[in-house]
């Protein structure tokens, strides 16, 4: 339809190979997940439920491919920065707000599932949680403090950026990443303990709802940390200032969102049952 186009016109939009490869990478990750599911044979009660090496390899390759292509994508942002290629400060912010509101519906659906299970469990006279499980409220509460603190430190970093205090900005931003990592480490510990106690994804309806909610949140924290890390690298290279701060601003909005979701998850899954409201 367009072979007769071309020539040396100015204003050719910059092409990029990364959208194509990212789509391929995401598909590969999905295929790995499907292969993993197939190899576990959960529907066959006599099977060993062990993941096949092939499926784990494909899944691993998928994860690596997604991370790699995203790195390429962000490296383009980094390269384009000096030439002002992009859409301006207010536009990434609008997209981030919309993305976050879409994510609220995602968590809304997960909570809808949680409350449905809770309701059914009571209706069936099983109580809630419907299995023997003791969530470590104190330990998780302790690690949550790190996440809550990270919302404060990122706000501080943002303020420094607005005042062009680049050094402090990078420092507080780095601290935010550390705090997020500590929280994520706490999550990993909690999962390890729960699994050691014999709880699995399918061991009871409560555990299913628990793992899917906290797992989805954990993945969001992980993704958010990746975003923070990219911004931190770019900031260390001297990018971002009081006039141009779209990237850090988007990352910090997203980070606050992840924090807010955790407040709800912690309240509903840990605090309310501990207080006897379940």
């Amino acid at each position: 339809m367009s072979s007769d186009q071309g020539g040396d016109h100015p204003h050719l939009p910059h092409g990029s190979v990364w959208p194509f490869w990212l789509a391929v990478a995401i598909s590969l990750l999905g295929i790995g997940l499907v292969m993993l599911g197939q190899s576990l044979q959960m529907n066959d009660p006599n099977a060993a439920h062990v993941a096949s090496p092939l499926s784990l390899t494909v899944l691993g390759l998928g994860v690596a491919a997604v991370v790699g292509t995203l790195a390429g994508w962000f490296f383009e942002d980094y390269k384009w920065w000096p030439s002002n290629t992009g859409t301006g400060t207010h536009i990434p912010k609008a997209g981030a707000l919309l993305f976050i509101s879409s994510e609220f519906f995602l968590f809304g659906a997960l909570f809808a599932n949680y409350f449905t299970f809770q309701h059914l469990s009571h209706a069936n006279g099983l109580g809630w949680p419907d299995g023997e499980v003791e969530l470590p409220l104190l330990k998780t509460g302790f690690f949550s403090l790190f996440l809550f603190a990270s919302s404060a430190t990122i706000h501080k970093a943002d303020n420094h950026l607005r005042r062009n205090e680049h050094k402090q900005f990078v420092r507080w931003w780095g601290l935010t990443i550390l705090l997020g990592l500590v929280f994520l480490g706490g999550q990993v510990m909690e999962y390890t303990n729960l699994i050691a106690e014999g709880h699995t994804l399918g061991s009871s309806q409560f555990m299913t709802a628990f793992f899917i909610l906290t797992g989805t949140h954990g993945l969001h924290v992980f993704g958010g940390l990746g975003l923070l890390f990219v911004m931190w690298l770019r900031a260390r290279k001297g990018q971002f200032n009081a006039q141009r701060h779209a990237g850090p601003q988007v990352a910090s909005m997203y980070w606050h969102f992840v924090d807010i979701v955790w407040v709800v998850v912690l309240t509903v899954l840990y605090i309310l049952p501990a207080l006897g409201f379940a």
């Binding site: 919309l98 659906a109 994804l201």
Partner: protein, 554 residues
């Protein structure tokens, strides 16, 4: 504007051939790729439909087995919804919304390309099982209710879930892109309440998608977990199969408005243009579309009247469903009043637009019928429902897509013009064929013929009426296929003949996309240059008149 002037049009690489298309971030090139991909899947989904109609030509099993039939209607539904209508409207939207807003490009050009590239693997994954011996493609209908969808073994169904998740990601990102473009990228002088109504249609559509897709993505993930990772979301003790239906239809009903609203937007452009009158009631049109979008979020349970949900809830959803008729009625009457007293030019785009109104009104009214609980109890899962939504999805959406493509054909194909006679033939084949296919299905449904069943009772006591109606339907389906073939032939011929126009061929109201195109500012691979004075209106108008006269003479 920020302190620094940001540029979107930074020439970095010049690629040719395949690499150009693989790496493009130009909204127009992406729009064209969407349209081409859409047509590929339209043909695949159409073949599935033709096979089904062949099987149903006579009672008994002749062409395909019951198992294959299940795959055919599941593939047909999934394809037509997610891989034909959605890419086609995304294509038109991508191409024209930034131009109409005088924006350089979409807000996020790379994310835009990502949205497109996600639908390609999704389509491949969906059809892959057909190519592999021993695999079963999706066979649980396009809605995939548990417990069937959680218990039916085979990797084909997992791949279907994966494909839907990929398509969901693509649409979520695409809708965010449209919304940010519309709110933040409008060029000089373009405001929310003077932008073309097609952009309003995309706005309403995107609102629906952004908030409904995450919910169904969760439902699909739960399905995958139930199938693969030992959870019991929808089957087993303490689970709730109806929860899936709630999550699915929370998306599924907005989705049907997603399929129709952008094409209503096309009609908002086509009808004033070919009536030589300004659109009647611009503001009410814009709000009607937003009204459809908002009410669209609170009607989902009308798909679940027969599942035994709470009667009070049912009544509320019935009321909300009836409510959708109001903004839809506003739109239909606005189209009629736009035409009232106008000089109607019956070119192919306008014929398709009029076809849309006729057929969509039939589809809409039968929708209100089905929205009434007692009627739904009688007709649920019958061919009446099939006929109803095909009158909206084909009679509405697909006629709208053709209207849009014909209307913007010169811009889309770099100045080439299609053959009006062939387009006329295509329209009548399609219009007659469509009614021949689907009107009998209303009657079949009233006779009690259930949908999704490979065989039927010919009802010999009534003179084999069931067979006769099915045969009419099959003949009609092949007429639609012929119409699509004529359309594709028309496209091929237009490229061969290379008849070119350099100006708006339609005359009538001046519209922004043709104005900019005539000025040579809409070029593939180039961002729109927005910061210079446009050509004086009188000059473009003279050009348009001359072009219209030339075309009239030809």
């Amino acid at each position: 504007m920020a302190a620094a002037e940001f540029v979107m049009a930074e020439p970095s690489h010049k690629r040719t051939g395949l690499m150009r298309w693989l790496t493009t971030t130009d909204h127009k090139e992406i729009g064209l790729m969407y349209l081409w991909a859409g047509f590929v899947f339209f043909i695949l989904g159409g073949i599935a439909a033709l096979l089904m109609r062949l099987e149903l030509f006579q009672p008994g099993l002749q062409v395909v087995s019951g198992e294959t039939f299940n795959e055919l209607f599941s593939l047909h539904g999934t394809t037509m919804v997610f891989l034909w209508i959605m890419p086609a409207v995304a294509g038109l939207g991508n191409y024209f919304v930034p131009i109409m807003l005088k924006a350089k490009d979409m807000a996020y050009p790379r994310v835009n390309a990502l949205s497109f590239w996600l639908i390609v693997p999704a389509g491949i994954l969906l059809y892959l099982p057909l190519l592999i011996q021993g695999w079963t493609a999706v066979n649980v209908t396009w809605v995939g209710y548990p417990p069937l969808s959680t218990t039916f073994p085979g990797v084909g169904l997992d791949l279907w879930i994966l494909a839907l998740i990929l398509l969901g990601m693509a649409s979520t990102l695409g809708s965010i892109n449209f919304l940010v473009t519309i709110f933040k990228m409008r060029g000089p002088g373009v405001t929310l309440f003077n932008m073309p109504l097609f952009a309003w249609a995309q706005l309403a559509t995107s609102v629906l998608l952004v908030f409904s897709l995450p919910v169904v993505t969760v439902a699909f993930l739960m399905l995958l977990f139930d199938r693969s990772f030992g959870t019991h979301f929808f089957t087993g003790a303490g689970s709730e199969p109806i929860l899936y239906q709630h999550l699915f239809w929370f998306f599924g009903h907005p989705e049907v408005y997603v399929l129709i609203l952008p094409l209503m937007g096309v009609l908002n452009e086509v009808i004033p243009k070919f009536s030589r009158r300004p659109v009647f009631g611009y503001t009410s049109m814009a709000w009607a579309m937003m009204g459809i979008a908002i009410v669209g979020f609170i009607v989902w349970a009308h798909h679940m009247f027969t599942t035994g949900i709470n009667p009070t809830v049912r009544a509320v959803f019935m009321f909300n469903t009836m409510l959708v008729g109001v903004p839809t009625g506003v739109k239909v009457f606005n189209w009629l009043t736009t035409m009232w007293g106008g000089q109607i030019a019956l070119k192919a785009p306008m014929k398709h637009a009029l076809g849309f109104i006729w057929l969509f009104v039939i589809g809409g009214i039968t929708g209100v019928m089905l929205g009434a609980i007692p009627v739904d109890y009688a007709l649920h899962d019958s061919y009446f429902v099939v006929a109803h939504f095909h009158y909206t999805m084909v009679g509405g959406a697909v006629f709208g897509i053709f209207a849009g493509i014909y209307y913007w054909y010169p811009i889309l194909s770099n100045g080439r013009m299609y053959n009006e006679k062939m387009a006329n033939g295509q329209f009548w084949l399609m219009f007659v064929g469509f009614n021949l296919t689907f009107f009998p299905q209303f009657l079949l449904g009233l006779n009690g013929m259930p949908r999704r069943v490979v065989d039927y009772d010919p009802l010999p006591q009534y003179g084999n009426i069931q067979t006769l109606l099915n045969q009419m339907s099959t003949v009609g389906a092949f007429m639609i296929a012929l119409a699509v073939f004529v359309f594709l032939l028309n496209v091929a011929v237009s490229h061969r003949r290379n008849v070119r126009v350099s100006a708006d061929p339609w005359g009538g109201n001046r519209v922004v996309e043709y104005q900019l195109w005539e000025q040579g500012r809409v070029k593939l691979g180039e961002g729109l240059i927005v910061d210079h004075e446009p050509e004086p209106l009188a000059v473009t108008e003279a050009k348009a008149r001359a072009a219209a006269e030339r075309l009239e003479a030809a």
